[in-house]
């Protein structure tokens, strides 16, 4: 399967989460592995993380792998706070 | 020489120009240094003021007049006559300072710079299509900041690119 790289920019919030949802719907239908570039994220909220969590569940059903390497500290921290980090397969960072 | 009423008129012109900014305008502000006339895009002009005293910065080229307090912002002021190596003129309350917004090379940041000139004229609508390229002045004169030449009412006006003229490298 191919790997789709998704650039997340510096913010994933309820304001731009619909657009990402549509994008991911397409990716899901194409059954690709995904690498999310969240290294620049400075703001990420529950809506975005919930959606990414749902996506990670859906893609694992297809056997697709999601890569969160080098996600920013903010991203990892918020995902942990919400109890989503290990469920989404994020490695513990230093 | 530009009187204060003329300055006010020009300021009101600027206001008009700025509100028409969404149309693609080719409005230029023309000013003079001695017998020579120059034009700059009105979009870069923030305001026009008369001369106020500045603070000298030691060990800088003579065309850097100094620093000005503009409503709590500290901005450098450049003497264009000296920049063009023309004879210096004394500063007095009729001397005009054009306050410009200058973009850096990548257009990512803006600085505010004051420019001392002799006098400003009306803002003109210039058809850039009529602009002729500037002649080659030879290697002694660096003219990358001259966009071109245009004729207005029989006078030759040199169109300047302020971003290049007042770039950080140029003012070193």
């Amino acid at each position: 399967m191919a790997v789709e790289v998704i650039e997340c920019g510096d913010a994933l919030e309820v304001a731009n989460v619909n657009a990402l949802h549509s994008q991911l719907l397409t990716v899901l239908s194409e059954q690709k592995h995904v690498a999310f570039n969240c290294s620049q994220i400075e703001r990420v909220d529950t809506a975005a993380l919930q959606m990414l969590y749902a996506f990670s569940k859906a893609s694992s059903d297809y056997g697709c792998v999601i890569n969160w390497d080098e996600a920013s500290d903010v991203f990892i921290h918020n995902a942990r706070l919400l109890g989503l980090a290990s469920a989404m397969g994020m490695q513990a960072s230093t | 020489m530009t009187s204060s009423t003329e300055l006010q008129y020009l300021d009101s012109l600027l206001e008009e120009e700025h509100t028409n900014a969404d149309q693609v305008t080719q409005h230029y502000l023309t000013f003079s240094l001695g017998e020579e006339h120059y034009g700059i895009e009105i979009q870069c002009v923030q305001e026009i003021r008369s001369w106020e005293s500045v603070t000298l910065i030691p060990n800088t080229p003579d065309y850097i007049c100094g620093l000005l307090n503009l409503r709590s912002a500290i901005i450098p002021v450049v003497d264009l006559r000296l920049r063009f190596e023309m004879a210096k003129k004394d500063y007095n309350p009729t001397t005009v300072v054009i306050i410009l917004k200058v973009n850096n090379e990548q257009r990512s940041t803006q600085r505010t710079v004051g420019l001392v000139v002799d006098a400003v004229s009306d803002a003109d609508n210039i058809n850039l299509g009529e602009m002729k390229p500037s002649p080659d002045f030879g290697e002694h004169v660096d003219t990358t900041y001259i966009r071109g030449l245009v004729s207005i009412s029989g006078q030759m006006v040199m169109i300047l690119d302020v971003d290049i003229l007042l770039s950080v490298e140029a003012l070193a």
Partner: protein
């Protein structure tokens, strides 16, 4: 009139009810303040509109995590298929376990803003450890990123802190202006005015200190972690290195701290790779097997200085020059000092540019390197401080006024011309506390035409920075006050000897002196420019 009376009556009766509490309520309140560690089970089920209403569980859980040890697990029973998901709706609920010396009230207080938008249950936990659920890792703030957050705290966006910082900056300007005005009124006539202004000054300083503390952390958060990072790297490479630090207390803005972490890691990595030799190589040249890497941090009016120095092999200057010529950065005939050549490693095309100087420049900082072959290398990073208010001394030199950071001044006194010792006709030294310090004639350094003839009655202001001392020759000392620094570098090329400019109480602009720059200016003679006589005259 009657309105007022009625209002007062209501207030009085309110107070009355508050004061008489039923006994059992009082007891209940007491019980709510536990002295020992309690474990709470919290079930938080928000309505699906919670997110649309602007509430943010991340912030709620963040607040909880500062109260004690927090474990979080989700309940995603209501989560629909991805294609049917409405990203703005909330489908998750959470089961949280919070342990610490925490009362139920504290927990409920955190959830108060969203009370109406969720179902909340807070119960004391029966089992001490609840590891039955699919829990996530502990979300305590134990990482070195924010060691100060053990005390109750709130998360504040940096924008708000910046806005506050700007307001305080304005406040200082206003205070300065008022202070200037009040100087013209004899203090005996309006004692309250002067007292009020002195109070304003104290308040502004106190606010400034709090803001700085809110938004900064000591660099120890990075310095504490780097030694281990270096040891891990060195073990892999077989090199031996001892890492020492100084200036760990130096405070940095949190944003700058985040940015600098990576840069320092990269820098330290390349020092280890290229700078430090293997134990065998070191022994061969008579050095100890274990190399030294030292990190130092310091403040210098308006900037943070971070030094990374090692006693390794130094930069390969000829190699750098070669590469630079190959990359077309310099021509083969250009005369460059070793220092110039060494600093070419920050130009595009060299790896140091991507990893160090580019990210630094984006943050408004800069880097310089100095190296001696066989002896070692020192990288000096400069970073801007967000809040740039300093205590300053105004001085008069010729007909100009300048501002000197108070922290740089050691002493000041009237110069005694008999004690001046000339050296080889160019320099002048002055005895100071058992040592001789150079006299920096600021009027000469700044190419100003002196207004005072001779040296009598002039003042010497002794300054020190980075271990060097010098005496600045000035005409007079004026007042001391707080000033807001405007950086000069963003406007045009750095001007040597000045670190910024500020607006004085009377509205004029004054330049802020940078001692290190002045020393450099003093040592490297500039071609003298003729004095510009009518510069600055208003006419």
């Amino acid at each position: 009139m009657t309105d007022n009376e009625t209002n007062q009556e209501i207030e009085a009766s309110d107070i009355a009810t508050k004061q008489t509490l039923p006994e059992n309520q009082a007891e209940a309140i007491e019980q709510d303040d536990p002295a020992e560690t309690v474990v709470w089970d919290i079930i938080f089920s928000p309505s699906s509109e919670l997110l649309q209403l602007g509430s943010e569980p991340v912030q709620l859980f963040q607040a909880l995590s500062t109260l004690g040890e927090l474990k979080v697990s989700i309940d995603d029973a209501k989560l629909p298929a991805f294609s049917e998901l409405d990203p703005t709706a909330c489908y998750l609920s959470w089961h949280l376990t919070l342990s610490g010396e925490i009362s139920e009230q504290q927990i409920k207080a955190v959830f108060e803003p969203v009370e109406a938008q969720c179902e909340l249950s807070v119960e004391r936990s029966i089992s001490a450890s609840s590891d039955e659920h699919d829990t996530d890792a502990k979300v305590n703030q134990e990482s070195s990123q924010s060691p100060i957050m053990k005390a109750p705290s709130i998360a504040v966006e940096m924008d708000k802190v910046q806005a506050l910082a700007n307001l305080v900056g304005e406040l200082v300007l206003t205070q300065s202006m008022l202070s200037h005005l009040s100087e013209q009124v004899p203090p005996t006539l309006l004692p309250k005015l002067t007292e009020g202004i002195a109070q304003l000054d104290r308040h502004a300083r106190d606010m400034q200190k709090v803001i700085i503390q809110m938004s900064t952390l000591p660099i120890s958060t990075i310095f504490d972690v780097l030694p281990k990072y270096v040891q891990d790297l060195s073990q892999a490479s077989g090199k031996k290195v001892n890492v020492t630090t100084s200036g760990e207390q130096t405070e940095l803005d949190k944003i700058v701290l985040e940015g600098i972490r990576n840069i320092l890691e990269n820098l330290v990595q390349s020092v280890l790779e290229y700078g430090l030799e293997s134990p065998e190589q070191r022994q061969q040249v008579g050095k100890s097997e274990t190399g030294t890497l030292h990190l130092n941090a310091d403040h210098q009016a308006g900037h943070i200085i971070i030094e990374v120095s090692d006693d390794g092999a130094g930069l390969d200057t000829p190699n750098i020059l070669q590469k630079a010529i190959e990359k077309g950065l310099v021509s083969a005939t250009e005369k460059l000092s070793p220092h110039d050549i060494q600093n070419l490693i920050f130009e595009p095309g060299f790896s140091a540019a991507d990893k160090v100087s580019d990210p630094l420049n984006k943050m408004g900082g800069s880097v310089e390197v100095a190296s001696i072959a066989g002896r070692g290398t020192m990288f000096t990073l400069r970073l801007p401080l967000m809040m740039r208010i300093i205590d300053a001394q105004t001085i008069k030199v010729a007909d100009q006024y300048y501002v000197l950071p108070l922290t740089a001044i050691i002493d000041s006194f009237e110069i005694d011309t008999k004690d001046i010792k000339p050296v080889s006709g160019k320099a002048e030294l002055y005895p100071f506390r058992g040592d001789y310090i150079p006299i920096l004639r600021l009027d000469k350094l700044f190419n100003l035409s002196p207004t005072m003839t001779g040296l009598e009655q002039r003042l010497l202001v002794v300054v020190a920075v980075q271990g060097q001392k010098a005496g600045l020759l000035v005409d007079d000392l004026m007042s001391q006050q707080q000033v807001v620094i405007n950086s000069l570098e963003t406007d045009y090329q750095k001007v040597l000897g000045f670190s910024g400019a500020t607006i004085m109480g009377n509205g004029t602009v004054a330049l802020i002196l940078d001692i290190v720059g002045l020393m450099t200016l003093y040592k490297t003679p500039n071609p003298l420019k003729p004095y510009k006589s009518d510069r600055g005259s208003a006419g």
